[in-house]
Amino acid sequence: MELAYKHPKSLKSIQTKYCPGCGHGVIHRIIAEVIDEMGLQNKAIITNPVGCSVWADLYFDFDSVQPAHGRTPAASTGIKRMLPDHLVICYQGDGDLAAIGTAEIIHAANRGEKFTTIFVNNAIYGMTGGQMAPTTLVGQHATTAPEGRDPILAGMGYPIRVCELLATLEGTKYLARGAVNNAVNTRKTKNYIRKAFEAQMRGEGFTMVEILSQCPTNWQMTSLESVEWLEKNMIAFYQLGEIKNTLSAPATAQAH
């Protein structure tokens, strides 16, 4: 009988510290599946960022490096330049990538660094307890935006569309945005990750998959409400799909 379901080797079968309904678990799972499918467990290195996913090194079963907050793309640059035949995954949250580490991501992308960034956008600071993120939607509540994000009167600025921002840079070759709020979006996201990883192993240039993810705890919702809120509010603002694809080799990824 054909095996229809198994736990990926690249992910330990232990309980995570993530909250119920958090998207990180699903994202870890699909990354691990792609690594297994590509046979790269012994060549994979993840840089796990400061934020909730600082725990990623407990869960992924391969090498990891934990850099300072926002400096993840700089550390990934150092690793990938030394180990160009390895799969380097720069895992970042929205605070890490789009606030404190904005300079690092823009310049790593512009240099066309050949690692893959997995950008988990849940529009809130999770680890520190629900502060406004650069990607918090206008009107969305946060502990530091108690009346909702107000871009003008309170001077809180606007949510940043990172894929679109990076798309202008010539070093970027593949920028896709997926989501993990339902099975269909999760499957599409896995396909984006596979394309990005394959492009990385071909040495094409900078690749990034932004993943809209739910944070029921800090959104102060049930898990079910959170996936619906993501669908209705986040996807309306952050368009899903391949925002930029200038990969030279034909895409081989299949939706699984």
Binding site: V54, D63, Q66, A75, T77, L83
Partner: protein, 355 residues
Amino acid sequence: MAEEIRLMKGNEAIGEAAVRAGCRAYFGYPITPQNELTAYMAKHMLAKGRIFIQAESEIAAINMVYGASSTGARAMTSSSSPGVSLKQEGISYLCGADLPAVIVNVARAGPGLGGISPGQGDYFQATRGGGHGDYYTIVLAPKGVQEAADLTYEAFSISEKWRVPVLVLADGLIGQMMEGVVFPEPIDPATLPRKDWAVGHVTEMHRPYNHVTSLNLEPDGLEAANRIRFERYGHIKEELVRYEEIDVDDADIVFVAYGTSARVCHGALEMARAAGMKVGLFRPITLWPFPSARLAGLAERGKRFLCVEMSMGQMVEDVRLAVNGKVPVYFYGRCGGNIPSQEEVFAEVKRLMAL
């Protein structure tokens, strides 16, 4: 075959020494007065097919070092005082993760943007860790171009041996001046062994997966990790302390100075000796670990000390801690980018002799 003597700028000699030490990756950001070093590395690292990146910031540069060092490669960055301040977060992480690295500070005068002339005001930052948390870095202080090359070359192996970053603390004068220098034999980085603590090459290394991190949320776990690191610091203090002494044995007053100010003191010493005064020079080469035991021993013999620095007085605190009140410790300093002349230092020692 013996290497020829080459006339080189300090900054370039540091670069050549790093290339010869098997440095596989250099990451830097432009800042005066160390720019020749970055340019030298761009030319020579790229020519050898090694990694050179002009980073977007000092912060990015030190974190690129962090990544490269995580793979076990010899990696370095260089900067000058304001830029080294920016690197402190990364240095703290390097120490917390027990990663080797070489960091060169061609120091200038501060605080703030300060000036671009030589300074020694970064002593506290260099010898007290510099960033957040409980840690030290090894600090080597060259007095000239030859020693800058020698210490930079050796910094890589010292750093690897102890898994502690090594800071080479020069200053703008040493970086900018030209002297004759003979370089050690080049090391081919491909011949350097892989590290069992590094990431990458899992299959070839036959090891479990490695996690390079400074995170430890359990207080007992973090305390234990810090205590292990401090045990290592204890061994470093036993094995690594270095200093140079000139005419100390019969001296009544001993200059204590490092780097450029030690050169000035050497000149003042010769003036004093010519005038019949018993003056010596004690020059720490390792600023951390500091040669406290030797200074304490000299204090037991009743020597008085005159600490001369290009700052308002920083190393003088370590000298006072070392002699523990047994003998007078005087201080003479210039700052703001001023280098004391040997005449003014001689005048000061003459005044003290008369006390």
